[in-house]
Amino acid sequence: MPDPIISINQLSKHFRVPVREGGLRASVVSLFRRKYNTVKAVDAISFQIDPGEVVGFLGPNGAGKTTSLKMLSGLLYPTSGQLSVLGFEPSRRQSQFLQQITLVMGNRNQLAWDLPAIDSFDLQRSIYGLPADQFKQTRDEFIELLELGSLVNKPIRNLSLGERMKMEIVGALLHRPQVLFLDEPTIGLDVTMQRRIRTFIAEYNRRTGATVLLTSHYMADVEALCKRVIVIHHGEILFDGELSCMVEDFSAFKTIGVTLKNGTADLRRYGEVLSQEGSRIALRVPKSATSQVTAQLLAEQQVDDLTVEDPPIEDVIEHVFAQGGAQEVSL
């Protein structure tokens, strides 16, 4: 087994946040008597990630995903716990460490707004001290992979959101980092652009063997890229394991799709009818009853076609969040 490239043990980040009630009176009182709340953005989380893994880091807004990524990339000092990335302590922000990582935030730009991306790429070259030939080769390779072509000569401000995001990703990867922290890299993009960026990340991971930790609210990103997911909620880890295991463990229902030979029938006694389109009916049944209901349908109805599917990943994740800290699972 290779040594983990990311190792976190009992990592916490607590923020002390001033609070006061609304209104002028409370505002004046707060001048003399300030009250603070401690917000546990991340609370004693532990996990390890091996080299080359692509891991989805999932959770609702405010769960602690971005705070964790910021600690991993050295932006924030942890309140407590141990943290190691590539053998470095990120908060020390040593040059050798920063040289090997990248952080992409879907809502943040690092390229110069008023200049063509090609100039910003050159600045990245100088920041990371890349040899000219290596830089040129990587840059051209990425431009081709993302089909950016002549767009690199247009000022960033004149590009669409999707084109800008592709440029940001190229800029962030020119130094060929070994560890990628991607925070909502496809946020706000259309489906085609999301798919292109996903494909690029997968290709980068395949070619370089880089480790990727990805947060995204788009489950299509997670399904396409991540074999393993870590689910975090209220600063605590609810699940850490393979995506397929999460579906297995947390989906209380299955969807049975039935196509009837005789057109239509009332199937409500078998389960909750989710949809009916012509002779095709979708039923939601408890997972434990799936075999029994399937057998009954085949015995009692004239079935032309029958499929049993897991529920959409979004539903499973929602179910995990709903369970909150009630059921902490670690695989």
Binding site: F15, T66, K70, S73, G74, L75, L76, Y77, R93, S95, Q96, L98, Q99, I101, T102, L103, M105, N107, R108, N109, Q110, A112, D114, L115, D119, S120, D122, L123, R125, S126, I127, Y128, G129
Partner: protein, 273 residues
Amino acid sequence: MNQSGSLLRMLDFYWTNMKMAIMLEFQYRVANYFYMIGMVVEPVIYLVVWSTIARAQGGSVGGYTPGAFAAYYIVWTLVRNMNIVLTPYAWEGRIRQGRLSMELVRPIHPLHSDVAFFAGWKIVAIILWLPFALFLSLIFKPELHPTWYQIVAFFFSIWGAFLIRTMLLSLLGMITFWTTRVGAIFELFFAIELVISGRLVPMSLMPEWVQRVAAFFPFQWTFGFPIEALVGQMSPSELLRGLGMQALWIVLGLVSVNLLWKFAIRQFSAVGG
């Protein structure tokens, strides 16, 4: 990487960043010109007031004739351009809005980016300043007869002024890590700087006690000294001493910035991304 490799890499970074700044500022040359027009108003007011006083007092004030004042305040405009640096307001913005995050994940200190970018901007500023200087000279007829060593000292002193002010305003800006807003402190700094730097009036015209107080602060090395280096009657040894004082303040500033940074960065909450 060996030391010469590191140095070459740093030089390459500075040059690339300066090129970016030059491209950017040329792109906004009209805006830059209007900015410069606004900036020239301040010394022209000082110049007109002091020239009038000099004439009323029989031709000079404290040894400054209208022509000497003209030289002082026209050179002032270049020195002012040179010592414009990233303001504490900009520091406030980059910290409060979390823009600093993207700079912190780079293997290079943000201060290098600031210095390199503004150094590039200076080159554009000097080019844009030349027509202004010519225009002001035609109107106010400055008395300016610098020696070669004054010109050399002036060249180094304006870059020294730039670096000292970068350190000072970075220190101020970094207070935002604790206070979130630094505007009020900056205004106080600005008021003190105006009086004891040579910006408002040549330091030699200030009361003696003000000059003694000013000697303990770095401000005169960012304004008064570079101007006097070109327009005054300084001997080579006085010029060298002045450049030495600038170097001292740069080193002091650098040490202070590094020290404060070590504590300040722990306060960064990387909000807003």
